[in-house]
Amino acid sequence: MKITLKVMRQTGPSAEPRLVQYELMGISGDMSFLEMLDVLNEELTERGEDPVAFDSDCREGICGMCGIVIDGEAHGPERTTVCQLHMRSFKDGDVITLEPWRASAFPVIKDLVVDRSSFDRIIQAGGYISVNTGAAPDAHATPVPKEDSDRAFEAAACIGCGACVAACPNASSMLFTAAKVAHLGLLPQGQPEREARVVNMLQQQDAEGFGGCTNIGECAAVCPKEIPLDVISTLNRDLGKALAGRG
């Protein structure tokens, strides 16, 4: 197939972004979207032009490293990660626009690469269970109902990609934060720190410059791991309890 790409390029964090157009021939439907970009970069290298910077590592949809807004949609037209999107989802002659995740809490580093370290700092604010190594009781000491454990797993499946933020008109990271709060809050091990966790993580989320959640739901619609929107209600309930307890 023949594909036209319009790529938002930016040489560094403070440089002006500009849209640059490239034509690619001989793209096969079996290529993943990122392999198509590899082909582009080989061609650019041959021509002596700077290759397009983009993030990826596992290329299996599990590490959360890749992330591109494709034709206005986070991770593109299908509900998956860009590394698992294949060119057969496009047609011969398509014009495709690529932009980085846009959010003030995710500053652009270069081209399509952004800095998501704000997510790590939200986790540092309480997205863990405090247990030192070697101090754990036998794993069977506390049974966990299968249903709770399965729901905890569902929330824990978040890969921290940031698509939810990129899709949200407010650039809110609520789905990401709520997924962690729900994961740990659904397990008995997570109870002692449950209330402090939600307050501290939300405080950090605000401090990082993420927008507020107004329940638009775009986040869950693009989430490649299908994190359910109701983790946000779980978070809100926990927050309510925490605040009432403090009042």
Binding site: E35, D38, E42, I62, V131, G134, D150, L187, Q189
Partner: protein, 675 residues
């Protein structure tokens, strides 16, 4: 036979095969003696302790935040040491461990099916084809139960039964159910547990985290590892970081093959740089090849995707008998025109033969011209391209007939969906295609029982070390080893070393620091200034082809010798003709890759030398000269029951082989047979 005008590497007395020298055997791996069951307790007791107030004055650098590195960083941070952790991804949560699917073993005997520490130990030594150390493997089995306790306490949502207790499955041909799992995402959940423990220490101020930093050199001063040189991948700054000890948890080197199931950034650089500074490299040629991966679809493919081995429980593997049928719709090939080759050759095990046998057999069918799937260009080592089909069918038609589509979907649905997403074919309708791929490396830096390399103060954990797996790792044991090393072993053994710390502060202009810093800057500069005509990836692909063809599933003396020559030529061409654009002072992904490929070009040669010298077949390493009458792998315990620990011989010089003899006191060495 010495001639004066031979160019480097100089041929001189003592060179074996013209390729390497033999050095002193390794005298001591520091394993305590006495009954196997007491060795770890004994070692812990004899290790010196560091008083909590002193730990604050001591610093440890950890490179890598996969299961091995993140767990070590968190645990040493909890203990009160000053930890600095480096990794090349943008978040510690993205280390390659995240991709592990199947599960993690532990001798908990929760199923009351006669599992025990000894049985896990026994299965693992046997699975390693008697090329792993008894003491290490026993300790691994012993510690395994505590890993599950730790992970559950951290909130890792393992699969559970209705009664609320943990569920187990059996995995990789063992006869007990000892594998704990979290759907098909066990690595992800375990890593997130370790990552959260790590972030907790970052918040507590004991761990400082360096994202997008790549280690490019080790600093060895006065005989001890004292720090690293890293490149900040965003600004290009070459930074020096010093500490009392250095830990490498940098993962495996399967990407030397270019196409593998590894993450794109997985590399050998940290380990290789340490090797060049004096750390021995153990068993570099031991690579595990996994039989059930989605085959190559085209020449632009960047990686291969693993599909769980569990598919072989119900799927039947076949190829057309007649090469002329290879491009036909498989559904139109009648039963009697199909060759169910595993069932034919191995009637006792059929499609469930171990990984190495299933992999090798698939390769033979395709080499024979009976492979299926799209014919793709394969670059031949001489540079020409040939069209080949690299795939065999994994057919569920019988299973669907027998169990019904919905049962098959309930069991394997997510794998079928993944297959369909990648190939665009519906495996419920058309048989899946699979092919072996490089998956895991059992070789790595040589370490003693304390996980210390031959450089004092340099410790190595997880897949980056060689220690526990022998020649043929079993499923679900790498996750176990990473976490065992990081949570339990290293935090105990490193104290003994640090009991002499803090060491005198190194001035930044210490010759060892200055040398390491200068060597990194020069190398980066050199890569950027070659300005040749070939892309980094084109070199990597070519190296991968050579490695796969000659140092992959089936190796011969002739092929390996040829490969060594080709790798040397390719390396020379790389430094003459590679094209890396841009500059150092920016995010430059081609530059990052170029540095990694340069190291792979050196490692590749050592892998071939190691494979060449080991004139036996063991585990996944099949030497065509060493096989039984009916074509099975033939081990040679008489001559090769040792670890090959390679010492860097110097630039352009032959490497030096040190042998560590393996003694089996508790397990009897037996020939494997699957017929």
């Amino acid at each position: 036979m010495t001639t004066t005008d031979t160019p480097a590497p100089a041929v001189s007395e003592g060179l074996v095969n013209g390729l390497y020298r033999e050095g002193e055997p390794i005298a001591d791996s520091k394993a305590p003696s006495g009954p196997l069951q007491n060795r770890w307790e004994e070692r812990k007791f004899s290790a010196r302790l560091v008083n909590p107030a002193n730990r604050r004055k001591m610093s440890v650098i950890i490179v890598g935040t996969g299961l091995a590195g993140a767990s070590a960083a968190a645990t040493l941070g909890e203990a009160g040491y000053n930890v600095k952790a480096f990794y090349y991804q943008d978040s510690a949560r993205r280390a390659h461990s995240i991709a592990a699917q199947g599960g993690i073993n532990a001798a908990k005997n929760y199923k009351n099916d006669n599992d025990s520490t000894f049985r896990l130990f026994y299965d693992t030594v046997k699975g390693g084809d008697y090329r792993a150390r008894e003491s290490n493997v026993y300790r691994l089995a012993e510690v395994s139960a505590a890993i599950i306790d730790q992970a559950v306490a951290q909130g890792v949502p393992f699969a559970r039964e209705y009664g609320g207790l943990l569920d187990n499955r059996s995995f990789g041909g063992v006869q007990v159910s000892r594998t704990f799992y979290a759907r098909g995402q066990t690595g992800q959940q375990l890593l997130i547990g370790a990552y959260q423990a790590f972030q907790r220490q970052v918040a507590a101020g004991t761990v400082t985290s360096y994202a997008r930093h790549e280690m490019l050199e080790l600093i060895v001063a006065d005989g001890r590892a004292r720090g690293i040189i890293v490149r900040d991948m965003v600004t290009g700054e070459i930074e020096t970081h010093l500490a009392d000890a250095v830990v490498l948890g940098t993962g495996g080197y399967g990407n030397v093959f270019f196409l593998s199931t590894n993450a794109m950034g997985s590399n050998v650089s940290a380990a290789w740089r340490a090797h060049r500074k004096g750390a021995y490299f153990g068993n570099p040629c031991y690579t595990q090849i996994h039989p059930t991966c989605i085959p190559v679809s085209g020449s632009h493919q960047s990686k291969l995707t693993l599909m769980s081995e569990s598919l072989r429980n119900d799927g039947r593997i076949w190829v057309p008998k007649d090469p002329a049928d290879c491009d036909k719709d498989p559904r139109e090939i009648p039963e009697d025109a199909r060759d169910y080759y595993l069932e034919r050759i191995y009637p006792a095990f059929g499609n469930l033969v171990p990984r190495d046998i299933a992999s090798r057999s698939a390769k033979y069918q395709c080499d024979d011209g009976r492979g299926v799937g799209p014919a793709v260009d394969e670059v031949q080592p001489d540079g020409s391209t040939k069209q080949v089909r690299r795939g065999v069918y994994l057919d569920f038609a019988d299973a669907i007939k027998r169990m019904g589509k919905s049962t098959v979907a309930a069991k394997y649905g997510n794998l079928f969906d993944m297959y369909q997403r990648i190939t665009g074919e519906d495996p419920y309708e058309v048989p899946m295609r699979i092919y072996p791929a490089v998956h895991y490396t059992m070789g790595g830096l040589w370490v003693d029982y304390d996980l210390q390399s031959t450089i004092p103060g340099l410790f190595v954990t997880g897949e980056a070390n060689f220690s526990d797996h022998g020649a043929n790792r079993l499923g679900a044991s790498a996750l176990m080893q990473g976490l065992s090393d990081g949570y339990f072993v290293l935090p105990n053994t490193i104290n003994d070393y640090l009991a002499d710390a803090p060491f005198e502060a190194l001035p930044e202009d210490h010759p060892a620091v200055a040398e390491a810093h200068a060597s990194v800057s020069e190398r980066v500069h050199k890569l950027l200034s070659v300005n040749g005509s070939r892309s980094v990836d084109s070199f990597h692909r070519e190296l991968g082809t050579i490695m796969w063809e000659y140092c992959g599933m089936d190796r011969s003396e002739e092929g390996l010798k040829y490969a060594i020559g080709r790798i040397r030529e390719l390396r020379e061409e790389f430094w003459r003709d590679v094209r890396v654009l841009g500059e150092n002072e920016e995010l430059n992904q081609a530059l990052e890759r170029a540095g990694r490929v340069a190291d792979f070009l050196e490692l590749g040669e050592l892998m071939c030398v190691d494979a060449l010298h080991r004139r036996e077949s063991c585990g996944g390493h099949f030497r065509s000269e060493s096989q039984t009458e009916d074509g099975e792998a033939l081990r040679d315990d008489e001559n090769f029951a040792y670890v090959a620990a390679w010492e860097w011989g110097g630039e352009g010089e032959a490497p030096v082989l040190h042998k560590e003899d393996l003694q089996y006191e508790y397990v009897e060495m037996k020939q494997r047979s699957y017929k």
